[in-house]
């Protein structure tokens, strides 16, 4: 019954997003509030060097990820937690299914987890006849609508209250309302039974701590706590980079995470889980599984140009400041990882050629770098991706993306490396342009690749006299004014 169909391309997705008034209004509000707000958080930090410190520690952790993960694994096992190492999405999802089968699971409740969508675990379980319910309100809403989330922290940011009202009236059988508190209460009631009686909870992992062997989950709604407390099995999915070495690192990361993503000093719940509950406890899981997921991350780790992107703590702040995301919304990226972080991560995980539009489809304004709590240089990485698309890179299975563009720049190179060629090209264009100049003095229509410019914009014509010619003429005039040798009427 889903009305959602994935856009055929980034450009088409962008067009849809631009035409969606609700999306435009909601993203404007989001960015005005949370985007600007994040910068205010940084300006008000007690320790102005905190982000630099945290970045250093993140890179140290990543540079020694083998060591840090081995300590995490040992400590999780010490607490009687089970650890599974998945090289691929398929391995991770299959393991979840195996655990579900072992425990005769009929109902799974999920805490919000980007990586769970990455591995496609929902579909695998549902095909087995297991009911899978998202319990984060935003995820629950998009699950009911059978569409993907459109923002890392706020999955339903693209919807307005009336749409949610109609959805709940239809799916939950309640009387229509567009009052957010009423709707939230309806979701609370609808999900309570699921949360209390599910057999298995699947969550992500915001920050694991190697030193203590615990994973921690950061939330406001309480659904993640419920999903990890009431079911008898808890499976935590973790991208292998989501680990802090020490509790001090954890404290600093947490501080930045809640401020950057939600402008909060702290979120409502930070739960620290490690291992199953003590025998005899009326709640808490009997079995705790930590699934470490590679799925392309070790390849990113191996590349010094891109290792930095693994420092990301998934706060979503970059989405909240990106002028491109703010216009087109998350669905246009055709990936669960959208916005600036998605533009780098998605091509690296799924294919650079496949997602060439994500590499090239932004203006490199740098707002994301400015706001990132861990100073991730996403513009630099986007340039590196564009470089691979320009020349190809067998190491990343990438072939040159646009041969016509490559040729154009080869030609351009010829012009810009010799002043004389450059001037000649300008002179030629100066002649050719004459018929294109409209009455208002501007050029309104160009052809070829430049036609895209004149679709919505005018262009000034080449000046009658370039700066260079004016300069040369002025020098000549000064020359003769200064009373030097008669200039013989030497030409312009």
């Amino acid at each position: 019954m889903s009305n959602f169909s994935a856009p055929s391309s980034y450009t088409e997705g962008a067009r849809r997003g631009l035409a969606d008034d609700t999306l435009q209004k909601n993203l404007q509000h989001l960015q005005n509030c949370y985007g600007r707000g994040a910068f205010e958080q940084w300006a008000g930090l007690a320790d102005p060097d905190l982000r630099d410190k945290v970045k250093r520690r993140r890179m140290e952790t990543l540079d020694n990820l083998d060591v840090v993960l081995s300590v995490l694994i040992d400590n999780v096992r010490e607490k009687n937690g089970l650890v599974y190492c998945a090289r691929t999405a398929e391995e991770a999802a299959s393991y979840c299914l195996e655990v579900a089968r072992k425990h005769s699971v009929k109902l799974v409740v999920k805490g919000k987890s980007m990586v769970s969508a990455e591995i496609g675990v929902d579909t695998l379980l549902q095909n087995e006849g297991i009911e899978v319910v998202e319990t984060d309100l935003g995820e629950y809403i998009v699950q009911l609508r059978q569409e993907p989330p459109s923002h890392i922290l706020g999955p339903s940011v693209h919807l307005n209250r009336r749409q949610v009202g109609r959805l709940f009236a239809d799916k939950l059988g309640i009387e229509y309302s567009d009052d957010p508190p009423t709707l939230t209460k309806a979701a609370r009631k609808a999900l309570r039974h699921k949360l209390l009686h599910a057999d298995m909870g699947i969550t992500g992992c915001n920050i694991a701590c190697a030193e203590t062997g615990e994973i921690s989950l950061v939330s406001n709604e309480g659904n993640i706590r419920m999903a990890t407390t009431m079911p008898r099995v808890h499976v935590a999915l973790m991208g292998l980079e989501r680990v802090a070495a020490t509790m001090e690192d954890h404290r600093d990361l947490l501080n930045l995470l809640t401020r950057a993503g939600a402008l909060q000093k702290i979120s409502t719940y930070i739960s620290f889980n490690g291992g199953p509950s003590p025998v005899g406890d009326p709640d808490g899981p009997e079995e705790f599984h930590l699934v470490l997921i590679d799925n392309g991350r070790s390849k990113i780790l191996a590349d010094p140009e891109f290792r930095e992107v693994l420092a990301c703590i998934r706060c979503g702040a970059c989405l909240n400041v990106c002028p491109v995301y703010g216009r087109i919304g998350g669905h246009a990226y055709k990936s669960i990882y959208s916005g600036p972080i998605g533009s780098v991560l998605t091509p690296l995980l799924y294919g650079i050629n496949l997602h060439a539009d994500l590499c090239k489809g932004e203006s490199l304004c740098g707002a994301c770098l400015d706001v990132c709590p861990v100073n991730n240089d996403l513009p630099r990485m986007l340039l590196a991706l564009r470089n691979k698309l320009a020349y190809g890179d067998p190491g990343w299975q990438t072939t040159p993306h646009k041969p016509s563009e490559a040729l154009a720049f080869k030609f351009w190179r010829m012009l810009v490396t010799k002043g004389a060629r450059y001037r000649f090209a300008l002179a030629t264009c100066s002649l050719i342009q004459r018929p294109f100049i409209a009455e208002n003095g501007m050029i309104a229509k160009l052809f070829g690749p430049a036609a895209a410019w004149t679709k919505d914009r005018d262009l000034p014509p080449l000046a009658k006299q370039s700066f260079r010619s004016r300069w040369q003429r002025r020098k000549k005039e000064q020359h003769s004014i200064n009373g030097d040798e008669d200039d013989n009427g030497r030409g312009q």
Partner: protein
Amino acid sequence: MTPKVSLFIQCLVDSLYPDVGDAMVSVLEQLGVSLDYPEAQTCCGQPAFNSGYSNEAKAAARHFIELFADSEAIVCPSGSCVHMVRHYYPVLFGNEDEATRKLTDRVASRCYEFTEYLVDVLGVDKVKARFPARVTYHDSCHLLRGLKIAEQPRRLLSAVDGLEFIEMNDSDICCGFGGTFSVNYPDISTAMVDQKIDNIIASGAEFVTGCDVSCLMNIQGRVSRRQEQIKVKHIAEILASSEAEP
């Protein structure tokens, strides 16, 4: 000691907006700066670099650093070009021989954006200019975030005789140019420049100015198509103004 400046006239200024170059020359000459203009200059390489064509960009960059090798100071009326030279030339030539790296560092460290040169190097924060109009300012991305230049243009503008300076909403949000982005993703780019223009209009200003011709060309192009009343002027032109009529 007479300050000496080699003019770095961005390709777009040279070919499309030579008045901007003239204006910058006029202001610098009025301040007693001695100017030279390496005539073989072409382009800093940014269009190629931002599109991923680092080899082609490097060729342009090499031409540049050789041309400006002996300059005392290199001044350009474009923040993005200066950013290219200062931040990315050392990256492009990072693996070259020592002589090239030294030359790159030398050129990079002597390259300034126009308002930055006036305020930070010459120590001038008021020029003899008159421009009686309501003016708002657009913060170009590379200038603001890359070079951290925001205060200098504002200081200069606020000191212009008769000029009423208005801060617009979201002056620091990208205008949507982004080089080839504007022709490869025109729908998104246009939506961004439309938002910029709406903010300019909402500010009540008659003019929008900035330090980067790429941005101004983008804004002006869309203003023209939308047939809005807003006029677009590079900051050099305002600082060189002395007539009563803007």
